[in-house]
Point group: D4
Chain length 165, copies 8
C-alpha cells in the first residue's frame, strides 16, 4: 500500500482496472497538496481486507475516503457501514450498462448509512477529490484559499477559451 | 433467530419491511417441507451481524441462502462474498425506482462472486424458494418427486382456469 | 428564515412541497443537536435569492449545505457553484419520472463543482443529514461519539426486530 | 466574444467541447443570414459570467438564446431564470449515459421557467436554430419566405434521393 | 371549436383526456390575456383534420401552437411538419411508461423540423404557455412588462412561503 | 421509385441512412420472391409525399407496408393512420439513445391505429419481412410452403453449427 | 376452451389476470364480427399445452394469433416459433417495471421469428385486434369496408368531442 | 454435440455468436475439472431441439444447466419450464439496448419457474459457472475445497495487485 504516515484522503478502488478513472482524483489531491494513498480492495473478492481497511481508517488519521467501483458497486456502501468517516462514492462505467448499475448501487443507499455519490466516471473522480478538499477546507484556512483560487481559475479559463473560439 | 437445528434454507432480509415479499418464499418452503429460518440483518446497518451469519451458515448446516433486499441491495452480494454456499438474491421494490435499483445492485455482480438473481418482488421471492428446492432436489429423490408434482399441478391449474373463463 | 445565529447546517429546498421529504433531515440534525435552518429558494424562480444565499452561507458560519430539489434539480449544483462549502444534494421524486430526472440532474455534475448526492426521497434526506454529521464529527469529538452510538443502535435495533419476527 | 453589434441569436455553450455539436446551429443561422454570436460560459464554473450574460442579453438586442450543455445540463435553465427571452436548450451527449442526463436536466424544468428543449446532439442543435428562425420569422416576412423555401427543399431532396436509391 | 377571431395561441390536444393537463396552459394564457383556442385532433385518428388545422393556422393569424399528446406522441411533430409556426410540445403521461414514451416521441425530432419540448405533464403545459408568452413578448412591450411582473412575483412568493415555514 | 407494377410489399424509409438496416428486409423478400419496392419519404420533411403514398398504397395493390425510421419515429404511425393496410414498423437506432426513442415512438401507438412493431435494427428489419411473408402466406399456399422450408432450415442450421463448435 | 368451430383469431393469455387487458381485443373482434376464442396457457407453467396449441392452430383454421403476457413475456415468441401464422404480441403491465420488461421480452425477437408487437396494456390489446382485422381484411372485402367505416368514425368522434369541449 | 458421458454441467447457447461470452463459463469449469458440454439451440429457431434437450438433460445425468442468450432471451426460461434441474441464465449483450432486453427477459420470470440470473456478459458467464460449482460443492467435498482455495486466491490476488500499484 502506497501509504504515507500522514495520509488524509484514502482513494479505494474495487479493481485495478478502475485506476485510469480514479487518477483524476489523485491529480486533484496532488494539485492541492493533500496527502493521500491508493488502496485496492474488493467488497466481494477481499471482504476481510475491506473490513480491516474500513475499521482502521479513522485510527490511521484518514479523514475522507473516496471509493471507486463498477457494476453492482457495493464497495463504497460496505466501507461506509464500517467507518464513521465521510465516504465519497464514484460509480465506474465498467459494464454494458454504462455505469447506470454502478450509479444506482452507490447512490441508492438505504437510510442510516450515507455515501456521497459523484457523477459516473472521470468527472465524478475529479469531483470526489474536490469534495474531499471542500470538507478538509472547513478546518484548514490554507486549503480554503487554494480552493478559492481554483474556483476563480475555472471561471478565468472559460474567458480564455472564449478568446480562442 | 427463529432457527431450528436442522435449518436447510436460510431466508435473510435487509429490513422487516421486506417480510410481506419474502413470505412468498416461506410459503413455498413450507409446502415442500424444507426446514428454514428467517434471519434479519442489514449489509449496512449491522455489518458484523451479517458477516457472522455468512461465516457460520455453512457450519450450521444451511445449504442455500435466500436474500431479499431493496434500494442499493448489497446484502446478497456481501453474504455471497463470505460463504461458499449458493446465494439467491431477491430484489425488493422499496424505492421510487420500482426495484430497478435493487435489481441492478443484486444481479450485476462482478466476476468471482455469483448471486443467483430472481425477479423483483413477490414472484422473485416465490421463485427463490423454488430454485432452492431445485438445488436441494439434486440429492433428495423425495423432494424431486414433490417438485415434479408441483410442476404438473401448475399446468393442470391452467386447464382448470381455462374452464372458468 | 428560521435562522439561528449559530446555524451550522443549512437545509435548502426548491419548493415548500419538498418539506415532507426534507423533514427527515431536520429530525436527524435535531437528534444530534446540530444547529440548523430551513431555507426556501428556487434555482429558477428566485435566482437572486439563491445567489445571495450561496454567497453569504460561509460568512454566516454555515459549514454544510443540504439541498433538496425535484425534476430538473439544478438547485444543489447552482449553490455549489457559488460557495466553497460542501453541498449535499437530495433528489426529490416530484414528477412522473419518479425522481430519475432529479437524480441525474443532481449527480451528473461536470468536473469542477461537486455535489454529494444521496438517494432519491426520504432515505436520501435522512442520509444527507447523517453525511453532514460525519463531516462535522471530523473536528467535533462529542459529535463523533454520538455518531458511534447512533451506528451501534442501528445494529441493536435489527437484533430487536429479529426477536419480534 | 465573436459578437456583432446586431446579434439576434446568441448560441451559448457550457464547454468548448460542445462546439462540434453546436456548429450545426451556426450553419443554419448562416444559411438564413441571422446575425449570431457564440458565447462560452458554464452554469457551474463561471456562474457570474453566466448571470451577467443572461441579464444583459435582452438589452443587447438578442432575441433568442440557444444553449447547449451536457451531463447535469443546468445552463439553459439557469439562463432562462434570468432573462425574459425565449431560451432553447440542446442536450449534449457528453457522459456515459448518452445524453439522457442532459435531456432530463434540460427538459424537466419545474413550472414557471420554460426551456424549449430539442433532441440530443447534432439534430437538436440544428433544430434549435430552425426553431429560432421560426420565432424570428413571426415578425420578419423575408425570413418567413426563406423558411418556406427551406421546408420545400427538404421535401424535394427526398425525391432526389429516391432517384439514387 | 372555441375559436375567437383574434386567436394568437392555439392549444391542440390529441385526446380530450389530456384536458386536465392542458388546462394549465389555458390558465396562464388567460392570466396574460393572450387570445387562445382549444383544438382537439389526433395525429392518427383524424389525420386530415390535423393537416387542415396545421395548414390553416398561420393564415388564421395563429402565431404559436402548443400541442399536448401522450404515448407515441406524434401530434406535435406532425403539425410542425405542416406549418412554419413555432410548435411547442407537451408530453402527456398517459401510459404505464409515465410519459417517457411521450417525451422521447416529442423531443427526439430528426433535423429539419423542430418541436420545442417542455416537461412531462402539468408543469410542461404551464411552461408551454409561458414559452408562448416569451415568444409573443418579443414584439409586444405590454406583454413583456406583464412577464417581468410575473417573474418578479414568483420570486416574491418564495419569500412569502419562507415566512410560513 | 424502384416500383414494379405488381409490388406486394412496400418498404418505406424515413432517411437513406436507414438503407443498410432495411436491406435485411429486401434480402428476405427476394429470397421468398415477393415483389417489393423501396420508397423514401419522411413523416416530417415530406409530409405530403407521405400522405400521397399512404393514400395510394392499397389502390396500387400493395398488401403490406414495412416502415423503418429512427429517433422520434413517427413515420409508421403516420402511414398507418392513412391506410387500412397492415403496417409493420422497424425502429432504427440512429441517435445516442440506441433506438429506445424509435422503439417507443413506434410501438406505443394509442388505441385505434396499430403498428406491428419489430426489434430495433437489422433483426427487426429481417423479421418485418418475415412477418409480411407470414401475412401473405395466409392466402398463398406456395409461400406457406417456402415459409415452412425456411423455418425448418433455421433449425437445421443450428444442428450444423453445433458440429463446428 | 371457448372455441367455436370457425375460430379465425385466437387470443392467448399467459394468466387469467391478463383478462381485463385482453378484453379490449375481444370487444374489437366482436364489433367486427370476427369469430375468435380465448385460450389460456403459459409459456413456462404449461409448455406442452402451449406447444400443442401452437402446433394445431393453423390446422384448426386459425389465421391470426394474439398473445398477451407480462413480466419476462416469452409466450408470444414461443408460440411464433411453433407456427407459421402471424403472431401479434401484447405486453401486459404486471410487474413493478410497468411493462417495460414485457415490452422488451416481446419485441426484441432475434432474426428469424417475428412477433408483431403492440403498445403495453389496453391500448395494445385493442390495437392487436385491429391489426388482426387489417390482416384479415386483405382478403375479405366486407371486413375492409367495416374497417373503413371504423376509421372514419374515429375521426368523426373527435369532431363531436370538440363540440363538447 | 461435444458431450461426454459424464457431463454434469450443460452450457447452452442461443447462437454461436454467444460463444466468446460463454467461454468464460467453460474456463471456470475446466479450472474446477467439472465435466461439461457446449450445446447450441435456439428457443425460437429450433424449439423442438430445445424441448428435447430440456426433457433429456436430467436423465443424461446433467445436474446444472447454464444458458446464455441475447435480445428477447427466452431460452433459459423455456428450458427451465421443461426440466426440474436448476437453470442459470446469462444475459448476452447482442442488441443496441446493451443487454437490458436480455437481462429483463431472463430475470423477470413469473412465479413458478425460476431462472438464476447472472450479470450481463462475460462477468455473468464466469459467475454462472461459479454458481454451478457452489451448487455441486454442496455434495462434493473435494469441489468445496477447490472453491475455498479459489475464493482465497481472489483475495490474495488483490494484495498482489496492490503491490504493483
Amino acid at each position: 500500500m502506497k501509504e504515507k504516515r500522514e495520509t488524509v484522503v484514502s482513494i479505494v478502488m474495487g479493481s485495478d482496472s478502475d485506476l485510469p478513472v480514479m487518477k483524476e482524483a489523485t491529480s486533484i489531491l496532488e494539485e492541492f497538496h493533500v496527502p493521500h494513498e491508493l488502496f485496492l480492495t474488493s467488497a466481494h473478492r477481499s471482504p476481510e481486507r475491506t473490513s480491516l481497511f474500513a475499521d482502521e481508517a479513522a485510527r490511521r488519521g484518514v479523514k475522507v475516503i473516496i471509493v471507486g467501483a463498477g457494476m453492482a458497486a457495493h464497495l463504497a456502501g460496505v466501507i461506509a457501514s464500517q467507518t464513521p468517516l465521510p465516504v465519497i462514492g464514484v460509480p465506474v462505467d465498467s459494464s454494458s450498462l454504462q455505469g447506470l448499475d454502478a450509479l444506482l448501487s452507490t447512490v441508492q443507499m438505504p437510510g442510516g448509512i450515507p455515501v456521497a455519490t459523484m457523477a459516473i466516471g472521470k468527472a465524478g473522480a475529479k469531483n470526489a477529490a474536490l469534495m474531499a478538499v471542500r470538507i478538509l477546507a472547513l478546518e484548514d484556512e490554507g486549503l480554503r484559499r487554494k480552493l478559492d483560487v481554483y474556483i476563480r481559475k475555472m471561471a478565468d479559463n472559460i474567458e480564455k477559451k472564449q478568446q480562442k473560439l
